[in-house]
Amino acid sequence: MDAQLAMPAAAHFDAPAIPETGGGKAPRGSAAMPPMLVVKNLKKYFPVKGGLLNRKVGNVHAVDDISFTVFKGETLGVVGESGCGKSTLARLLMYLMQPDSGEVAFGGRAVGAKDGLPLRDLRRNLQMVFQDSYSSLNPRLPVEASVAYGPRVHGTSAAKARETARGLLGKVGLRPELFGPRYPHELSGGQKQRVNIARALALAPKMLILDEAVSALDKSVEAQVLNLLRQLKREFDLTYLFISHDLNVVQYISDRVMVMYLGQVVEMGPVDQIYNGPKHPYTAALLKSRLAMDPDDKIVTPPLTGDPPNPINPAPGCRFRSRCQFAEAICEAKAPALGAWANRASHVAACHMADPQSGHTRAGTSAHDALAEEAAR
């Protein structure tokens, strides 16, 4: 196992590398894929105010006790509908927002802790690619200045930063002499997104969080950008956390997938296992609701009914039970836990059906099996 990461080929400046594992934590997973990002019990609640004096009347449980691990070199896809907390999670990982409780460890060192990783160092190793909106790039700066800003902040000279920026623009497929001096409003959506990627790479990070990075693009452009991302991952030896609501995109690019619902992780596992044999009814419903290319394969009954419950002060028990066709008394009484997972190949779900000892009538099976059983009747 390397003690130091190999420097990416295109980096033009020397950044101190963070040792793989410090602090004496035993790495999970196989020796070739040490954990890069370990998240434990992360929580973020947003107060809801109301009444005459604008007092707090409740909390929105945006991120509710989430734990997971991202291994070096993989792409972890995060899926879920709008409002499930994906974007909040992204911002918490980047420490653009302070979590209410929980811990994030990068490269084995806890962020913000006394002997752990200072925030500035986290920022040099973990960068984010935003969704292409009109506000993802400063409209007043030429794009190469936007890309060069990061290195400049960390002390690189203006000339060197510009050189780095231009190099990266070339790497993402934009001719630097042509596109460098341009302003964001002079670029197309796909071109802007390439600039976003270049900006994220400017500090030579080890890991990228991609928050709906291709959601705003046309399909053809989306394919180009996805391929670019895969290529860059190989070239720069990156690790990705890929957030999206588009299941097909996540399947295409991910090694493992994490499914979120109302601020919690409901299922996690290797991409093939999840897509072919989902254990959680929500995942199964999401997958079923994808439109197929075959016009004869029509969806007759809607896979997901009912309204999601109020995210403010949620009720106890499983949060999905109001929309789950397999819900039983046990689901209201006890909230299902995600289940222990041993390594990268583990496939776990927070569902009483997946847990053989839960007391559910279908305990020990999976949503996929249950649905197949229903269909066969």
Partner: protein, 295 residues
């Protein structure tokens, strides 16, 4: 490597790349009305600055024999005032005071109010509430009332007038600045800048200021005409410069006594104020239109 294969558009000829300010200037060059009034402003400013070269007559020298001569009198083309002083000279020199009283308070208020607004907008929370509530209290006064009350209680005079007017303009500029800053602060590229590890100062200077200065500047330019009017109004009430220093508002007030003798003389200082205020208004309007268009 795979440089040009992705983007077919990168092979096309690049159009002329214009910076933001260049495109503003380009749009303005087509706006003849605004350019006309900008020219008038320039004329007024130049004539005030170069007054000693434009007339050799002393604006403060009274000549009781030649009181209230009408417009068109030989040698005194715009007539004389109630003390026999040359109107043209007094108008030219008066422009200095009136322009100063118009521009300086707005400039000062932009600096102070703009700074406070950026701080309030970026910091949020308690700091924001504290600053903005104080501004709200000052907002509760109509501008004329506040200006008159403050400068009146301080005893009048040019300096007190300047202070009073600056005070009047700080709250609205602070408000504009805070709104713009708060809006920009929540945009993605600011988050990206913070995610690069930049400190607060760097983020504000490099990313926020550039996007906030626009609206603040436009608003400030629209305040100049109000400032000219208010300043002349203060002088009209006797709260501006001390006589015999020429000032358009003061002249207007003094010549009121003469309206039964030669009403046209009284109209002159007012015309000067009107033209100056109107020109600043038109130019500010034109600027706003030029800066507002998104491509």
């Amino acid at each position: 490597m795979t440089d040009a294969t992705f983007d077919t558009s990168s092979r096309s000829a690049a159009p002329r790349v214009r910076s933001y300010w260049q495109s503003v200037g380009h749009r303005l060059s087509y706006d003849h009305v605004t350019l006309l009034f900008a020219g008038i402003i320039l004329l007024v400013v130049l004539s005030a600055v170069f007054a000693p070269w434009l007339t050799s007559i002393d604006p403060n020298k009274p000549q009781m024999i030649a009181r209230l001569k009408p417009i068109g009198t030989a040698g005194r083309w715009l007539g004389t005032d109630e003390l026999g002083r040359d109107m043209l000279a007094r108008l030219l020199y008066g422009g200095r005071v009136s322009l100063a009283m118009g521009l300086v308070p707005v400039a000062l208020a932009t600096l102070i109010g703009g700074f406070l607004g950026v701080v309030a907008g970026y910091a949020g929370g308690f700091v924001n509430t504290a600053i903005m509530r104080v501004m709200d209290v000052f907002y509760a006064f109509p501008s004329v009332l506040l200006a008159v009350a403050v400068s009146g209680m301080m005893g009048g005079g040019m300096l007190n007038g300047l202070l009073a007017l600056t005070l009047v303009f700080i709250p609205p500029l602070c408000r504009i600045s805070e709104t713009a800053t708060a809006q920009v602060r929540s945009l993605d590229f600011v988050e990206a800048a913070r995610a690069s590890g930049a400190g607060m100062g760097s983020v504000i200077v490099h990313h926020i200021l550039g996007n906030v200065l626009g609206p603040v500047f436009i608003y400030a330019s629209s305040l100049i005409s109000v400032s000219v009017l208010l300043a002349a109004g203060l002088s009209f009430l006797g709260l501006g410069v001390e006589p015999p220093t020429p000032d358009w508002g003061l002249m207007l007030s003094a010549l009121r006594q003469a309206i039964y003798i030669d009403p046209m003389l009284c109209a002159l200082p007012g015309v000067a104020i009107f033209i100056t205020s109107l020109s600043f208004n038109m130019v500010s309007d034109g600027l706003r239109q030029a800066m507002d268009v998104r491509q």
